[in-house]
């Protein structure tokens, strides 16, 4: 098989999972009306499959800041942070992230994906070890691969399993980086951070926590799982993204270790890419202020989460273990998931469809993401529709 034939084979495998050309992946959004509604084809749909947790995509403060930055600084920086791409805004946002996490140091990356690639490959290298949760996001896997370190997985959120693997590493724990996530994006469950910290301290490793889905969602000021658990000082490095609760695009890493600064000189995903555009940085700075002051948004978000989670659970759907903004109905077969996904769309509800091997343990997921801008009526409509469809799958 030549290179192009290999791609044809992959396309055929995908088509066999998704008959009749159903566009579940990369569905065209024709118009976006608000944080909760859009047009897909000729339908006005409710958006339940975005990462817009605080519903800030149209926040006037952020839009205004982005407009002003475009007018004053232009559309792009046209260069790396290492060269001509470190404007005042980039440096200010780094300080603001460091202050937000009460840390000494902060670095902004061009995407959250690159934040993980750049941080992980900057911290470990060949001969070192990364111990990662089996359900880690692709950006974590890819960062580990890029680093050249030895990659050991532990069973998702299983601390007995994690300790077993730490013990096996023997002396190598000294150069081991443990990686976990605040909220896991597939099932919406949270890492057992207190136990991870206990093990990290017992074995004297370094701990990186990706707060991509928990930033803005957990904790009084929205720091994430570190704040909810009161363990901020115990986590060595925190990464995260601007692309979810902050409603733009970019990523960050913060730490109290001054060595973080060294990443600016060695980390390819930081250096060999252009820095975020001025408008992106400006809207992110405005969003970070709204996020940190957004306890009312978080209350609204959590009301929506618990309402939908409990309704789906009562109906009989098998869900992830923790209620939260990511609510995944777990189905046995891709056909069931596809059917539910399609029926929801016919009822003008857009959710995410996740098929094996992307979903854990060979299952398929129909995943909702709830946000603070959803009204109780919208959430009720979604819950009622899921209930109505339960017996059809």
């Amino acid at each position: 098989m030549n290179l192009l034939e290999k791609l044809d084979a992959a396309a055929a495998a995908r088509k066999s999972l998704l008959p009749n050309g159903v566009g579940a992946f990369g569905i065209p959004i024709e118009e976006i009306y608000s944080a909760t509604e859009a047009r897909i084809g000729d339908r006005r749909v409710l958006l339940l499959g975005t990462n817009n947790y605080l519903g800030l995509t149209f926040a006037p403060e952020c839009i205004r800041a982005a407009h002003e930055a475009i007018d004053k600084e232009g559309t792009g920086t046209t260069g790396s942070r290492m060269a001509n791409g470190s404007y005042f805004g980039h440096r200010a946002l780094e300080r603001e992230f460091a202050e937000f996490y009460q840390c000494g140091f902060g670095i902004v990356f061009t995407t959250g994906y690159q934040a993980n690639l750049g941080t992980i490959s900057g911290l470990v290298g060949p001969g070192d070890t990364v111990l990662i949760d089996g359900d880690s996001h692709a950006s974590i896997y890819d960062g580990c691969i890029l680093s050249g370190a030895d990659i050991i997985r532990f069973k998702h959120n299983d601390m007995v399993d994690m300790e077993k693997r730490l013990r096996r590493l023997g002396d190598r724990v000294e150069t081991t980086l443990i990686i976990a996530e605040g909220i896991y994006s597939m099932l919406g469950d949270q890492a057992p951070l207190a136990e991870i910290v206990k093990l990290k301290n017992a074995y004297n490793c370094i701990l990186l926590l990706d707060e991509a889905h928990s930033l803005g969602v957990l904790g009084e000021t929205g720091q994430g799982l570190v704040e909810k658990t009161g363990l901020l000082k115990e986590v060595d490095f925190i990464t995260g993204t601007f692309s979810k609760s902050l409603c733009s695009i970019g990523g960050f890493c913060v730490s109290n270790h001054p060595q973080l600064e060294q990443l600016r000189y060695i980390s390819h995903p930081y250096i060999f890419t252009a820095s975020p555009s001025p408008a992106t940085i400006a809207s992110t700075r405005a969003a970070l202020v709204l996020l940190s002051k957004g306890s009312d948004l978080r209350m609204q978000l959590w009301n929506n989460c618990t309402q939908l989670y409990s309704q789906l659970k009562e109906t009989g759907y098998l869900l992830g273990p923790d209620p939260g903004p990511v609510i995944a109905a777990i189905l046995d077969t891709p056909q069931q998931a596809l059917q539910l996904w399609q029926s929801l769309l016919e009822h003008n509800i857009y959710v995410n469809l996740i098929l094996p091997p992307a979903a854990p343990e060979g299952k398929s997921l129909v995943r909702c993401s709830v946000n603070a801008a959803h009204t109780p009526e919208q959430i009720k409509y979604v819950g009622d529709t899921f209930s109505k469809l339960y017996n059809t799958i």
Binding site: D150, R153, R168
Partner: protein, 84 residues
């Protein structure tokens, strides 16, 4: 490490792989796990965890890049176990 340990590793791999594949193909040391048995990457990674536990070793998943056949995987496990 002795020959019998190597056989034990090979036997375990063949048993576990036959449980993981939908293919009826006879599993031999030369069987390609991905192209012939259609074992997807996650299943293979989970199998590695199981082997780690059975033989009490650490098998870095990045070492799998060069592993295609059952024999290559058995060799890798054997090498790591012998060194431990």
């Amino acid at each position: 490490m002795t020959e019998s340990n190597y056989d034990e590793i090979m036997q375990l791999l063949c048993d576990r792989l036959s449980g993981l594949t939908n293919s009826d193909a006879q599993i031999t040391p030369e069987t390609n796990m991905i192209s012939q048995l259609s074992i997807d990457s996650i299943k293979l990674l989970n199998l590695i965890m199981e082997i780690e536990d059975t033989f009490d070793v650490s098998i870095p998943i990045n070492a799998l890049t060069d592993i295609h056949t059952v024999r290559e995987l058995a060799d890798l496990v054997h090498k790591i176990k012998s060194a431990s």
